[in-house]
């Protein structure tokens, strides 16, 4: 079974910084980083106007379906997806094999600029993910951060369901 995905504050801040930078440099409306399982990790820009939970789940579904297509024709993956709308466009790419980077932009930017900036940002993001992976491995041996869930009681769980 795959290990849990744990995100600590330090890396969260770094991811958010990287996304902020990407949003500025690519002149994008909003930038999201999403786990391949459909959970949002971080975001930057004008995110309030979007239903981010739905966006994350649909993007992950989209990427999963496209991955399936790639395998059918003998490709390892399609690393970039682009959806062109009348005003807004979505650029989707895979980062560090496990995350999805989504850039929403309009005609104040261009596909070329977004592609260029995404490439550069991906390098930064990959480094952060590497650190996260190392921390997760260490956590499995001797917890630097003790899991807050090791002490969950049955009462805690029952309380969640209002019993």
């Amino acid at each position: 079974m795959s290990a849990d995905f744990v995100l600590y504050e330090e890396e969260f801040r770094q991811l958010q910084e990287a996304l902020k930078r990407l949003r500025q440099e690519a002149n994008a409306k909003a930038v999201f980083l999403i786990d391949k399982n459909g959970q949002q990790i971080a975001s930057a820009g004008d995110v309030e106007q979007f239903d981010t939970t739905s966006l994350a789940s649909l993007t992950a579904g989209n990427v999963a379906a496209t991955d399936g297509l790639a395998k059918l024709i003998g490709e390892r993956e399609f690393s970039v997806l682009f959806h062109e709308g009348q005003q807004d466009h979505i650029h989707i790419s895979i980062v560090a094999k496990r995350a999805i980077l989504v850039v929403i932009f309009d005609d104040r930017s261009s596909l070329g600029l977004v592609r260029l900036r995404v490439k550069r940002a991906s390098v930064d993001l990959e480094k952060i993910f590497e650190t996260m992976a190392q921390k997760n491995d260490k956590g499995a041996e001797g917890p630097a951060h003790a899991s807050p869930f090791s002490e969950i009681t049955d009462d805690d769980i029952d309380a969640l369901f209002g019993e």
């Binding site: 079974m1 969260f12 786990d35 959970q39 899991s147 869930f149 969950i152 805690d156 969640l160 369901f161």
Partner: protein
């Protein structure tokens, strides 16, 4: 794969409703959606065909409140039940934390139930999961119909590992939350073990 975010103090878990075509997976989610307070749920998304059959998945994000200061969020998904959508079904199981199997109680659907559990077992294996160890609940749906198989027969035929089993009528909500609670509890207990 549970996503624990220490920065925003959130735990995110994924529950998948599995079962043969027309067994009531989407109806389970719709009932949960209708009965949950607006502040505890997000939008329910259904990717369905024009005939209202699930094409890819239904999705419902649920906020169960907080546990030890962490907001506990469950993402509920259904799979498309029709046999020929197997490739899509497989994709939905990616990163799953717990499974609900919705069985159709009607006599003529027993074969379909058995086949679907076998399919679940196989598809889980392809993602490196084992039905024998993953948090799992079984639901006998449509108990209100006339042509249903007796519960003890269904239990002997479909119960995999003495998992918690519930009789349900998803259209009116009987057993729906009991099933959900059971699998959610198992996920949290699993989290405690790690």
């Amino acid at each position: 794969m549970t996503f624990i975010n220490y920065a925003s103090k959130e735990i995110n878990c994924k529950i998948v409703f599995y079962g043969p075509g027309l067994c009531g997976k989407t109806t389970n989610l719709q009932y949960i959606y209708n009965k949950t307070a607006p502040e505890s749920k997000g939008k329910m998304i259904s990717l369905a065909t024009e005939a209202d059959r699930t094409l890819f998945f239904d999705f419902l994000p649920l906020d169960l409140g907080s546990i030890r200061g962490f907001t506990t969020r469950f993402h509920l998904y259904t799979v498309p039940g029709q046999v020929f959508y197997d490739a899509s079904r497989k994709l939905i199981l990616k990163g799953v934390d717990g499974v609900v199997f919705v069985a159709d109680s009607q006599d003529e659907r027993m074969e379909a139930n058995i086949e679907s559990i076998r399919n679940l077992e196989q598809n889980l294996q392809e993602h490196g999961f084992d039905l024998a160890t993953i948090p799992y609940a079984l639901q006998f749906n449509k108990r209100d119909l006339a042509n249903v198989t007796p519960v003890d027969v269904m239990y002997r035929t479909l119960n995999y590992k003495r998992e918690p089993t519930f009789e349900a009528v998803a259209t009116t909500g009987v057993g729906v939350f009991d099933t959900l609670k059971s699998v959610a509890k198992q996920i949290l207990i699993e989290l405690r073990k790690r």
